[in-house]
């Protein structure tokens, strides 16, 4: 009789603590690392903006193309690192991410956002641009944005990597990384990335580079733990 009472009590306590854990999982773990390459990277050509003198003036010396941006210690910039499995996603934030057009370049070259999150495209140039995203699963559109006009407010509903271009200035080329998860990072000039505020658990982390595709790793992190993982892309001197 007494043992039965205790076991019932224990079950109630256990269930209660499980509920508490489910309600407030401590999101204090993180995944950090560095993106590097092996092999010979392609030599990016300087962008010739002679056809748009207003923009050419802003880049002295001219900027290189940004398809493959390398740094010290074989690091790779503009690689999107995100949780591709293990994160249920959740509602997108209401705060808009901003994509700027300045000096006939996209800033940043790769912009990550959560699917459904507001996106604002701005034109800070004294010339007109047309913003032409080339999605595969989302609807494709193409809008003109002359100087001094209002920002374009939009969003993407389905996760995918979307190439963006300006047909007026063919060198303008960037990406929207539309992701299911809210945990993502883009590698900086040193190739470093950090995914913070993760609950303990098992995740698949994926790194995406616009020319060299995706790589994934499975990671298990405990509560409050910071795990180091690195991605190494094999690069070729020629782009296909």
């Amino acid at each position: 009789m007494r043992t039965k009472y205790i076991s019932v009590l224990a079950m109630v306590v256990l269930a209660g603590s499980a509920l508490v854990v489910a309600a407030t999982p401590p999101a204090d773990s993180s995944i950090e690392g560095k993106i590097t390459y092996t092999g010979t990277p392609p030599k990016m050509k300087p962008i010739d903006m002679a056809k748009e003198p207003v923009c050419a003036k802003q880049h002295n010396p001219p900027e290189d193309a940004q398809n493959v941006v390398t740094g010290a210690g074989n690091s790779l910039e503009y690689v999107v690192v995100y949780i591709s499995a293990g994160d249920p996603g959740g509602a997108p934030p209401s705060q808009a991410v901003k994509y700027d057009q300045k000096g006939c370049m996209y800033i940043p070259h790769v912009l990550a956002m959560q699917a459904g999150q507001p996106l604002q495209v701005l034109n800070d140039d004294p010339v007109a641009h047309n913003i032409h995203p080339l999605p595969k699963s989302n609807p494709e559109w193409n809008k003109s944005q002359p100087p001094g006009t209002a920002p374009i407010d939009t969003k993407w509903d389905k996760p995918e990597f979307i190439e963006v271009k300006c047909n007026i200035h063919p060198w303008m080329h960037g990406y929207f990384a539309v992701l299911k998860t809210s945990h993502y990072a883009i590698s900086d000039a040193n190739g470093a990335f950090s995914l913070k505020g993760l609950p303990a658990g098992k995740y698949t982390v994926t790194a995406w580079q616009e020319k060299y595709g995706t790589q994934s790793q499975d990671v298990t992190i405990g509560a409050g733990e910071t795990k180091q993982i690195n991605f190494v892309f094999k690069v070729t001197p020629y782009l296909y």
């Binding site: 004294p126 193409n142 809008k143 100087p147």
Partner: protein, 306 residues
């Protein structure tokens, strides 16, 4: 007698051999058309078109006409990779993406059934798409249902709301000159060229969304537009944009009354068309020599060419 028999026999034999050999060519070619797995309808006026997703050949459905008239270019999967596609430029439309140039709806939205119906009825000049006006209306409506069945977008999305086009303003010289300023300010000349000859600084670099080279419209030819020929069609072209091509939508940056000004100016670029707008413009130019600054990079950006 013997010779005659031999001749008759050999002729008969030849005919038999030819008939047997050619039989597979005359038999029905089995093209496995695979549209979406759901049924699709199109509504054009009081005509309803049908496409069925059960793989059966319904006599009243678009698959019959599609097999006969469309599959050669647009392909059994509707992805624009038909047998003839490799020989054609511009490439046949890929229906699976549901991106269409000629729409009455804003950029990024699906066209209405009427838009698609008008498109196949009109055909596309300077392309290999003929006008299908000779087909009965019911057949054309069925084909639209078929076109829609190829893309999953039609099952989850509705067609966009057609843009509203206000009544046309008078094609006065003020309207034409204002349109000319817009042509400079909106930087239309970057692709279409300062004289609208399709030779702007960016013209040679243009590609469509599939990566194939594409040319901006040369106004001086006076050729019909792909998306219709009237002033309202012209208005619609630059306000909706031609999705899948480099031509963007100007709906957010040009006011409706300004849009008519641009329409009137664009008519002056179509030299061989000899529109009334051209006569008005030429009269103005003759009586105001040297007053119009040339359109193009000489003018500081964003200030207009006047």
């Amino acid at each position: 007698m013997r010779l005659r028999t031999a001749v008759v026999l050999s002729v008969v034999g030849l005919v038999v051999v030819l008939a047997v050999g050619a039989a597979p060519c005359f038999g029905q070619i089995d093209i496995n058309i695979r549209p979406a797995t759901t049924n699709m309808e199109s509504h054009i006026g009081n005509v309803t078109g049908h496409a069925y997703g059960d793989g059966q050949l319904h006599p009243d459905a678009g698959v019959q006409s599609y097999r006969r008239f469309c599959v050669g270019c647009h392909g059994p999967l509707g992805d624009g990779n038909g047998e003839n596609a490799q020989w054609i430029t511009p490439e046949p439309r890929d229906f699976t993406a549901a991106t269409f140039k000629c729409r009455s709806t804003p950029t990024g939205t699906l066209p209405t059934d009427e838009d698609l119906y008008d498109n196949i009825t009109r055909g596309f000049v300077t392309s290999n798409m003929p006008a299908w006006r000779p087909l009965p209306a019911q057949d054309r409506a069925n084909l639209i249902a078929m076109v829609k069945a190829f893309s999953p977008r039609w099952q989850t999305e509705k067609a966009g709301t057609p843009i509203t086009i206000p009544a046309e303003t008078p094609a006065s010289i003020e309207s034409i000159l204002n349109g000319r300023q817009l042509f400079q300010k909106m930087e239309c000349w970057k692709c279409h060229g300062p004289e609208g000859r399709g030779d702007g600084p960016s013209a040679s670099t243009l590609t469509d969304s599939r990566g194939y080279a594409i040319r901006p419209y040369d106004f001086s030819t006076g050729l019909r537009f792909k998306c219709g020929d009237s002033n309202r069609d012209l208005y619609r072209i630059f306000m909706t944009g031609l999705d899948g091509s480099p031509m963007p939508s100007f709906a957010d940056v040009i006011k409706p009354e300004e849009a008519w000004d641009l329409v009137h100016f664009l008519r002056t670029l179509q030299l061989s068309l000899k529109a009334p707008e051209l006569a008005t413009f030429q009269k103005y130019v003759a009586s105001h020599p040297g007053q119009l600054k040339p359109i193009g990079p000489e003018a500081p950006p964003g200030t207009g060419g006047k």
